[in-house]
């Protein structure tokens, strides 16, 4: 291939999915001259699987991305067609926002934002090679021979990297949604020493709306009123679509069982490891044989299309089997499949090869985000893209990387899990992955991260002032209800007794009444004449802070204890094999993971508390310059 020297940039982002878009926007907004490459401009910020943003823990990630100055939340607010706050009855830690998005409009919105972004070029090209000089990233090469000198590159390759699609016994090289795969880059990455491996994921069929009998399905309406994703969205939002629920039945399962030998997964053709959290329908039928039915969510792909997505029905069975089992479902007897379900296998890196900054340990200047790092999900990808973009830009500017603590965010938990424990199947965020769930709520993502977003430079002065004002209102209102005493009255006691909590005989502080699980802040309005008119986001926060005070304090205490270990940084060049007293297994694991702090080291499986003690002594001795104390 003939090559030519093309324009130089600070940062090249490879892949324009949800990770790549956030990475490119963050880097450009922080002043780095950035280029975003994609195999197809029409595939930018595409949703090749579920046309939805958010969900449990994922909704938390979107709010955190927004609090740090990312784009995903705003895009979702601008293009959603139905919104629901999940888990409303289960407590604030697990409230999670999830929207159905209009797939085309989301893509158009993001493409336009990228096109309008200063410092950012958007180019349709396949990157086939990463070049290095003295071990550092120096250039990226396109399939047309353009050599772009760069200081850093961010790999956001999704399922494109040596992508291969499987449907029954048919398999072919392909990226998602009919886009072509990236076939040459893997060899270049392997030559740089990156440990690549195969993961797989799958997607269900898209079917025509008119071929479904909706009278046979359960409708699932959206919320009213709607909580937006972005802390900056102030206009009221409205649902524009309705979703439905259908169920598989014994007949569906029977069709699948009869044909299971025709699945490439069960036939051993697919070597990639699939996500445990998102099993294919054949997996569900085989592994959970006693379940008489499985749920299917029937979700519109957008407002300008009749395509319908069937969540929960991903499959790699042959097309004829797919049609047969879809038609066993009540309401689906006449169903017309527009795009068949498929499984896709792709290259991914072992995330233990990454630093907490998401830079590759072996290749300075090379960063990874999203499915390339072993995760799954648009939100997980966007979160890593944002952090990789921030850190690559900071590195170009000679600044230290931003590493979020587990106790600060799900983003921090996600990245810490990846680079400390690695992952053996595509990693999905869940609320149960965090030990600080009650602190990491979706409602307080701004309180946790907006100051950092401002400090990094992705949150405007104006937004930051608004944020400070909101925090002030929260504090003032907490203080006010804590000191305001309500006298007992027949009306108040009637309310209390009707909620099955005890009546009061003397004056009570409002705060004390709000702490009762049965009573809400809103309930007490008639007995609180001095109550100021406050936005819902403020009163919600006040209520949670009061009701969960004890549990929040408990978790804060844990954070403080862990903080001591997190703040003890380990040198990058530590020779763990040479540390006296470390067990062999521990030394080997530490050498492989190269933890940033003693805290991170303590989370590596196979590293015992005794090993941590040894590390502490070694570290202390090193800091004291190896001096004796006699």
């Amino acid at each position: 291939m003939e090559t030519y020297e093309a324009q130089s940039y600070d940062i090249a982002v490879i892949g324009a999915g949800h990770a790549g878009v956030e990475a490119a926007l963050a880097a450009a907004r922080l002043g780095a001259r950035t280029v975003l490459f994609t195999i197809s401009l029409d595939g930018l910020a595409n949703m090749p699987c579920n046309p939805s943003i958010g969900g449990t823990a994922k909704g938390h990630l979107v709010r955190e991305i927004d609090a740090l100055g990312g784009q995903m939340g705003k895009a979702a607010d601008a293009t959603f067609i139905q919104s629901r706050m999940l888990n409303r009855g289960k407590g604030p830690a697990v409230h999670s926002l999830r929207v159905q998005a209009d797939r085309q409009r989301y893509h158009m919105y993001m493409k336009h934002v990228v096109e309008l972004q200063e410092n950012l070029d958007l180019k349709q090209a396949e990157i086939v090679e990463i070049r290095t000089r003295d071990g550092r990233v120096s250039a990226v090469v396109t399939h047309l021979g353009a050599i772009h000198p760069v200081k850093a590159a961010i790999l956001c390759t999704g399922t494109f990297l040596r992508g291969r699609i499987f449907v029954g016994d048919v398999s072919y090289e392909s990226g998602p949604d009919g886009l072509h795969a990236s076939t040459r880059l893997s060899a270049s990455l392997e030559a740089l020493g990156l440990p690549l491996r195969r993961f797989k994921t799958g997607t269900p069929a898209r079917v025509h709306r008119a071929s479904i009998d909706f009278s046979q399905l359960e409708p699932q309406p959206g919320d009213d009123p709607i909580t937006p994703f972005s802390f900056e969205t102030e206009t009221p939002l409205h649902n524009q679509a309705i979703c439905h629920i259908a169920y598989t039945n014994e007949q569906t399962h029977e069709v699948i069982r009869q044909n299971i030998h025709r699945s490439p997964l069960y036939g051993g053709k697919i070597e990639g490891i699939g996500p445990r959290y998102c099993p294919s329908i054949e997996d569900k039928v085989v592994r959970f044989a006693d379940k008489p039915r499985h749920q299917i969510f029937v979700e519109p792909m957008g407002l300008d299309t009749e395509e319908i997505y069937l969540q929960g029905m991903s499959s790699s069975l042959p097309e004829d089997v797919q049609i047969a089992f879809y038609r066993t479902i009540r309401g689906f007897s006449q169903v017309k499949v527009m795009r068949s379900a498929y499984a896709i296998e792709y290259d991914t890196v072992d995330p233990l090869a990454l630093k907490p900054s998401l830079e590759c340990k072996a290749v300075p200047g090379l960063y990874g985000a999203g499915q390339f790092n072993g995760t799954s999900g648009y939100e997980e990808a966007a979160a890593q893209g944002l952090m990789a973009g921030i850190n690559a830009a900071r590195a170009c500017q000679g600044k230290d990387p931003v590493v979020l603590a587990r106790s600060s965010s799900y983003i921090g938990t996600l990245i810490d899990d990846l680079v400390t424990k690695g992952c053996s199947d595509p990693y999905r965020m869940m609320t149960s992955r965090s030990e600080y769930r009650l602190l990491l709520r979706q409602d307080n993502a701004d309180a946790r991260l907006a100051p950092l977003g401002y400090e990094i430079g992705l949150i405007s002065q104006e937004r930051y002032q608004k944020f400070l004002h909101k925090q002030q209102l929260i504090q003032q209102e907490v203080a006010r209800v804590e000191r305001t005493v309500v006298p007992p009255s027949p009306a108040l006691n009637e309310l209390l007794v009707s909620r099955e909590t005890s009546a009061i005989a003397t004056g009570f502080r409002l705060g004390e009444l709000i702490r009762r699980p049965q009573i809400s802040y809103l309930d007490l309005a008639p007995f609180d004449p001095q109550r100021p008119d406050l936005p819902a986001a403020v009163t919600e926060e006040v209520e949670i802070l009061l009701k969960y005070e004890g549990y929040i304090k408990k978790q804060q205490l844990e954070v403080e204890q862990m903080q001591r270990l997190e703040s003890k940084l380990l040198p990058e060049d530590a020779d763990y094999a040479a540390i006296t007293g470390l067990r062999l297994e521990a030394a080997e694991k530490l050498g492989r993971v190269r933890p940033r702090s003693v805290g991170q080291a303590s989370r590596i499986s196979g590293v015992s508390p005794a090993d941590i003690s040894v590390l502490m002594i070694w570290l202390e001795r090193r800091e004291q310059g190896g001096q004796d104390h006699d």
Binding site: Y277, C278, R437, D611, S613, R621
Partner: protein, 457 residues
């Protein structure tokens, strides 16, 4: 646990028989912790005392005073560890030393890890590099040993029991996690009633183990052992031999031992709670009779009986009567005074007692044979190996924090607090249990979710 400037405590002297036992407490709260369990006789509080001072006083816990002790105060940095240190010297023997340690742990101290005092000494600059290197070896070795022990312990009854409790709670946490993380799934909801029932069941399982720790003195504090025999056959001398100290009043006048004197000694792997009982015989002396009655009671409940017979004197009717009353009991005939010419053959005891040991309590000859015989006998009878028992303070502390977190979880459920807060307590209850078995909490729960629930995106 991981190093942090907490206050730690441990027994500094070897466990077992000995005149004195020392419990060392080190850390910022050392003096407050000691003060909470030790009342100086002089009235001057430990917190008011300068370093390098010793104070006589009494040790107490929730059950009241239990020993006299001397507290030695060291002020940072002039101590072994360089931190505030109090050393409590109490009377020896496993029971008192453990009780003192437990009192300290109940008042804010954490159990010191292997080599932890020395490690702190190094970190506080009290020790040279060379010394520190050897400490690291020690800690590393201890870690390996602990790992091996943990592995070996996995097959144990206790680990199985703790695993059972932990698994129940992990399943519960996984169910809650799946229910929270996959709200749209077709999944059974978690109702407060069954949730509370499951929590209560786990709590009582923890409680039973904790109660077992308090009640089951067999392994921890020893086997109740009665030393019986005619007057002046050498019971007190035998006891003193085992204990290594002069405790009983030993004279040649029969009936000089009037009270039950207790001593805890280590006989090989087994800890014995020895009672040197008054000679069992009828007497006119009311004081001595009281002692004899006590001895009979003690004998009835003993888990090990050492019948002392004087081989240098002819075997009497009284001896034979004693032996015949012990049919089916875990008894060993101790043929004492082997240093004197024997007056009868060992075969005279045939059919009366299954185990005999020749010994000279005065010279110590034959002591090892006695220790071996005891170990053999106890292996055959006495201890119930099927009952899970907590072996040490660390395990007790883990169970205790687990139980406390479960109680809190139950309170939260009863009060109607949302389940996200309940799971905070649940995690807190699981963590110490999994620490015992070396698993990690959130990974375990996540794995259980995927294993047990059919969940899709």
């Amino acid at each position: 646990m991981l190093w942090q400037p907490s206050t730690i405590a441990a027994v500094a002297t070897p466990l077992g028989a000995g005149g004195l036992g020392v419990i060392r407490i080190s850390g910022p709260q050392a003096i407050q912790t000691a003060q909470a369990i030790f009342s100086p006789a002089g009235g001057r509080a430990l917190s008011q005392s300068p370093g390098y001072t010793a104070h006589y006083g009494r040790l107490h816990d929730a059950d009241g005073d239990f020993d006299e002790a001397v507290a030695t105060v060291f002020r940072a940095p002039r101590s072994y560890t360089g931190e505030d240190v109090v050393e409590l010297s109490c009377h020896g023997g496993l029971y008192l030393v453990q009780r003192t340690l437990r009192a300290a742990l109940d008042h804010g101290a954490q159990l010191a890890g292997p080599g932890e005092f020395t490690k702190r000494a190094y970190l506080n600059g009290k020790m040279s590099l060379a010394q520190a290197e050897s400490v690291m070896d020690l800690i590393g070795a201890a870690g390996q040993q602990a790992a091996r022990a943990a592995l070996a312990g996995r097959d144990g009854v206790l680990s199985r029991r703790i695993d059972q409790i932990a698994d129940t709670l992990v399943d519960l946490a996984a169910h809650l996690a799946a229910w929270n993380d996959y709200p749209d799934e077709d999944m059974e909801s978690v109702e407060p009633g069954p949730l509370a029932a499951c929590l209560r069941e786990s709590l009582s399982a923890c409680q039973a183990l904790l109660d077992g720790y308090d009640a089951g003195r067999i392994l921890r504090e020893g086997v109740d052992t009665a030393i019986i025999g005619r007057p002046n056959v050498g019971k007190s001398t035998l006891m003193n031999l085992l204990a290594g100290t002069q405790k009983s009043i030993v004279t040649d006048i029969p009936g000089t031992t009037r009270d039950i004197v207790e001593e805890t000694v280590r006989a090989g792997e087994v800890t014995l709670r020895l009672a040197d009982t008054a000679g069992i015989r009828d007497t006119d002396d009311p004081v001595e009779q009281a002692g004899v009655d006590l001895a009979r009671k003690r004998l009835a409940s003993a888990q090990l009986i050492l019948v002392v017979l004087d081989r240098s004197e002819p075997l009497g009717q009284e001896d034979l009567a004693l032996l015949s009353g012990l049919q089916g009991r875990p008894a060993i005939a101790v043929l004492n005074k082997s240093d004197l010419p024997p007056q009868w053959e060992e075969s005279s005891l045939h059919g009366l007692v299954s185990r005999t040991v020749e010994i000279s309590a005065r010279t110590g000859e034959g002591a090892q044979s006695l220790v071996d015989a005891i170990a053999q006998l106890l292996h055959l009878s006495g201890i119930d190996p099927a009952a899970p028992l907590l072996a040490n303070e660390r395990q007790r502390a883990c169970l205790q924090s687990s139980a406390a977190a479960l109680e809190e979880a139950l309170q939260a459920v009863d009060a109607g607090v949302t389940l996200d807060a309940v799971t905070v307590c649940l995690d807190e209850a699981i963590r110490p249990l999994l620490e015992l078995t070396g698993r990690k909490v959130s990974d375990t729960v996540v794995d259980a979710v995927f294993a047990q629930f059919c969940v899709g995106k």
